[in-house]
Symmetry: C2
Subunit: 205 residues, 2 copies
């Protein structure tokens, strides 16, 4: 299998961490140069018509895109350690936490960065700076949810490490581009959790 | 079980259609008045800290939020007809299609409507009209992907009806607020598919 990815991009990193947590060997990484718009070429669009990374190219020739769908596939071929839930009910509650992170944290922080950071201008055209700034407020307001949750349980979705920790970690690490630190912004539980996740070997990929 | 929902809102409708397709009986619907900001009350936030509908209140007292996570749970308790994939690989490919719809179609169309329609002003503050207009262009550009896909197979994720059809249908129906019709905009495959889905009994809920 091959993983089409880009260094520093948060969504490929989610899959890379997922692979590292499961110690799946033999997936070749193929860098995609987003600034050169390699994800808009006909060859790439044939693999993923919505022009996003990552993509997992399977050995049977099929291309699987969307970070979370790739993780669902990998969880199927490498069930341990379980990161997405052992039955439908557990899967549902972990998916809930993962989507709270995606839609309430990652989405506003991505819009904040993509619409305000000059380095992201090649990828986000046109940039709407006022909209981008407003998304920072939504991101930090929603971070209050995660701060409270991490005061009640050790990990994002409960008492064990799951895919929701990977999603939240890769999202929050992306805010380092903006020099944002949860601890300095009034989120000590998020900072302590972030530091704990950063110490995992999978966070070094 | 109780489903906290709002009439006309696309995400609750996705769950309502999913329930109807599976003919699950006995789920009481509890309307939430979004314009009165009932989803921001302490009682509601105790059920879903990120203040979104729908929520499925389980009989054991737990609250499950996020449309797709609710569907994962319901698929577990009512496996037939299968709408999300019978094994991990099938689940992954259907999740891919569902997320292509969510991120490439529903997200820009929701931003287009929420940032430009006066009726959505109570829910989206501040509205950024220029950003909203730009999202219409992204929505229609991405609709080209669905148009091409529906030229190759009968349903959004392949040759059978799945959750991805529900997601796409409820999203595209929401554009009626803006008087958008896929057929008039140059997407005949999408229009024909939309009309076919609209004829299903589950689309009448």
């Amino acid at each position: 299998m091959k993983l089409y990815m880009s260094h520093r991009a948060p969504n490929p990193r989610r899959v890379q961490m997922f692979i590292a947590e499961k110690a799946i060997a033999g997936i070749e990484e193929v860098p995609v140069d987003l600034n050169a718009l390699e994800h808009k070429t006909p060859e790439f669009l044939a693999k993923n018509p919505v022009a996003r990374i990552p993509i997992l190219a399977l050995d049977d020739g099929r291309s699987l895109s969307e970070t979370r769908a790739i993780c669902t596939y990998l969880e199927g071929i490498a069930p341990e350690p379980n990161l997405m839930g052992v039955d439908a009910t557990a899967r549902a509650f972990i998916e809930m936490a993962d989507r709270h992170v995606e839609f309430s944290l990652m989405l506003p922080l991505a819009n904040w960065i993509r619409h305000t950071h000059p380095g992201l201008a090649p990828l986000e055209q046109p940039q709407f700076g006022d909209f981008g700034e407003s998304q920072f407020g939504k991101f930090t307001a929603n971070l209050g949810w995660l701060e409270a949750a991490l005061g009640k349980h050790e990990y994002v979705a409960g008492d064990r490490f799951t895919i929701a920790d990977i999603t939240a970690f890769c999202g929050i690490e992306f805010t380092r581009l903006m020099k944002f630190k949860p601890g300095d912004a009034g989120f000590p539980n998020v900072q302590a959790w972030r530091d704990k996740i950063a110490a995992r070997p999978s966070a070094k990929v």
